[in-house]
Symmetry: C2
């Protein structure tokens, strides 16, 4: 059976303007790979309701799991929860359990839990909450869409709390062989190896280091024995080149 | 007149598996912002022809400029050029000018310019070449789609060579005000300010540093005077909070 698929939707003008380098996608990718869920697409959109709604609906229809990051804070540009409600065609309002969790974050909740902060307790109808050990304001899951914060520390802790709820497949294993020769020298051999072993995927990732052109060959698959054979075949190639 | 729009398409299994952190998008975003082109969407897809073709066609229809990174090397997993040809419905073959450029990279091109490397001279019909000062193998532009390498150093140098060919708009200016208070304390004020100044965009980007919750307020727009006024209004807010 093929592994479950997933998509990531990063929401925020700050990524598209170049102000902020997204790192949540890479973290998610590493974690999903470990448990055998195949991240198949990533999209980044800005703080535009129509763009967010369209992306959520496109991705949740095509992939088993969807993860979003960004736009669930207390300020006017935090519109993700409303857009998720719109995408699913459900209502949204302050929910008592979310409000109670938020309140635990403040010494004087009657005063500090102001209108802006209460926005973070607005949860689309039918959603379940995602734990946020860092700053309390919860994320939520609605259908197959998991809505999480953009601040990397909070994104990571929310992801930790949902990983046990996901159904993974066979973990994708990989071996990497570093070759200090330009890709073009080994491409033919690599192509043959890939063709002969269709159950493994062979990626070639070129690098330039101190003026030397080389490449890392990454072989991925779920079969340990075949991976080992491919690694040995590549090691023989490295010997021949040196 | 609104600024021209753009989309980025990152191609490669290595991004989706988490092996590689994409940094080309951030670099592109910074450069486009400087010249008044609005990056509006980013997609990442794997080395799957159908996914690449669908993404190229979706993005080139909706945005003024499309930029791609990855998949134009000499190995079997480098399929971007073929997918672009498919997306545009045009042919693709080794082109003499691209072959001649590639040949300058080798001491003995008759021997070194092997079948694998010649793949890098396969250019879709009707495309114009994009200069690659680092490793010679050219990128190309077809219609509004600019196809570049995934290796960051080469991506950057290719981008430098096409930036002068793009038509920008009004550069987006921004000011950042750092506030050492949680977002929720300033959200109401910020929302009012944003409502009162619709020609500017106000983004709030929370951070956690040494256990302190704070936020950077980034105000963006093309009107220097209004930006200055917004900055002063936020500075007064910071004073009031301290």
């Amino acid at each position: 059976m093929p592994n479950p698929t997933a998509a990531m939707l990063v929401i925020g003008d700050e990524i598209l303007s170049g102000r902020t380098q997204d790192t949540n996608t890479n973290h998610l990718a590493v974690k999903l790979t470990e448990i055998g869920i195949d991240l198949r697409e990533v999209r980044v959109v800005g703080d535009e309701p129509a763009d967010i709604v369209a992306a959520v609906n496109a991705l949740r229809a095509r992939f088993v799991y969807v993860f979003t990051s960004g736009g669930i804070g207390p300020t006017h540009d935090d519109i993700t929860a409303d857009c998720i409600a719109t995408a699913f065609g459900v209502g949204i309002d302050v929910r008592e359990d979310a409000r109670a969790i938020l309140a635990t974050n403040y010494k004087n909740p009657d005063k500090e839990l102001n209108e802006a902060r209460l926005r973070m307790a607005r949860i689309p109808d039918g959603a379940s909450l995602i734990d946020n050990p860092i700053s309390k304001a919860p994320g939520f899951r609605l259908g197959n869409v998991h809505v999480m914060a953009g601040v990397p520390l909070i994104f990571k802790s929310m992801l930790e709390s949902i990983l046990p709820t996901l159904t993974g497949g066979e973990p994708l294993l990989s071996v990497t062989v570093r070759i200090e020769a330009p890709e073009g020298d080994i491409a033919a051999h690599l192509g043959k190896l890939a063709k002969a072993t269709p159950s493994l995927s062979f990626g070639s990732y070129p690098f330039i280091q101190n003026g030397v052109f080389g490449c890392n060959i990454v072989v991925r698959g779920t079969d340990k024995v075949k991976l080992k054979q491919a690694e040995q075949s590549l090691a023989r190639l490295v010997e021949k080149l040196s």
